[in-house]
């Protein structure tokens, strides 16, 4: 029960951060990726401020060995760099560069009643499903 509530609250706060940061503006994202053209570096500050906050809390949580409301951590432990990681991330990067939208901002923009976001999120789910068929081992 607590997981459902925490996930909902975290979802709300996360989207507020995305909306405030400018990540929901595809033009800004494409401007950030356009390093050889009219580069807009401002979105670098999004990761630049998000990561340190996370790092500090991670140091605390890893020493505690378990989260407050669960018995164990569900954090990935894999460290190997495999082909799927590289190729998948490359394909994601191409898609990100095509429209300037990644999954989080796409879902957040659904709340702004953007029809474009609905197209993006629908096809995003189809793409993820296709990967399951394509890479079924």
């Amino acid at each position: 029960m607590h997981l459902i509530i925490v996930a909902f609250v975290v979802g709300v706060v996360f989207s507020l951060g995305l909306g405030w940061s400018g990540m929901t503006d595809p033009e800004r994202v494409l401007g950030f990726l356009d390093i050889t053209g009219r580069w807009d570096p401002s979105l670098m500050f999004v990761m630049g401020s998000a990561i340190p906050v996370y790092m500090i809390v991670w140091q605390f949580v890893r020493r505690r060995h378990k989260p407050i409301l669960d018995e164990k951590l569900h954090v990935p432990t894999r460290r190997d760099i495999d082909k799927k990681l590289l190729i998948g991330s490359a394909i994601f990067g191409v898609g990100w560069g095509v429209a300037g939208i990644c999954p989080g901002p796409g879902i957040a923009a659904l709340g702004s009643l953007s029809l474009g976001a609905l197209v993006f999120v629908s096809t995003y789910f189809i793409g993820a499903k296709l990967e399951g068929f394509f890479n079924a081992n």
Binding site: V6, G17, V75
Partner: protein
């Protein structure tokens, strides 16, 4: 209006805080593609929280689009649905294959200094830059 980099810092702090709260309370990674990628499997006991996260993120996006409408105006007016659909398919496929997107690899992965998160982020950033360089904005 605040300069865009100040909004990027504030938004980033909120994004980092939301991801940190999810880690602290539930021990889970706030990775949008990781959370959404398994919704369609409808695994018992492992689906409701994922849906609630998405609903929360949509509500957060609704609130954010009323507070910072300028950060949503471009995605609302975007009407090149073919481009959005192509991007959605690639992003869905790539993030599923590479086990993560900007939030999971970029914030949580790098925040834990995970080699996979760091390599994935460098890869999708590089391919995002390359795509914008080739296709233009």
């Amino acid at each position: 209006m605040e300069p865009s980099w100040i909004n990027a810092i504030w938004g980033g702090l909120i994004i980092g805080a939301s991801a940190a709260l999810f880690l602290l309370f539930e021990g889970r990674v706030l990775g949008v593609s990781g959370i959404t990628g398994r919704i369609s499997e409808l695994a018992k006991g492992d689906t409701a929280w994922r849906i609630l996260f998405v609903l929360g993120a949509i509500l957060g996006g609704f609130i954010a689009s009323n507070i910072w409408p300028e950060n949503f105006s471009n995605i609302i007016s975007e009407s090149n649905y073919l481009r959005l659909a192509a991007a959605g398919l690639l992003v869905g496929f790539g993030t599923k294959m590479g086990n993560g997107c900007t939030s999971g690899h970029g914030v949580c992965g790098i925040g834990r200094l995970s080699p996979r998160g760091i390599v994935a982020t460098i890869t999708f950033m590089a391919f995002g830059v390359l795509t914008v360089f080739i296709l233009g904005r």
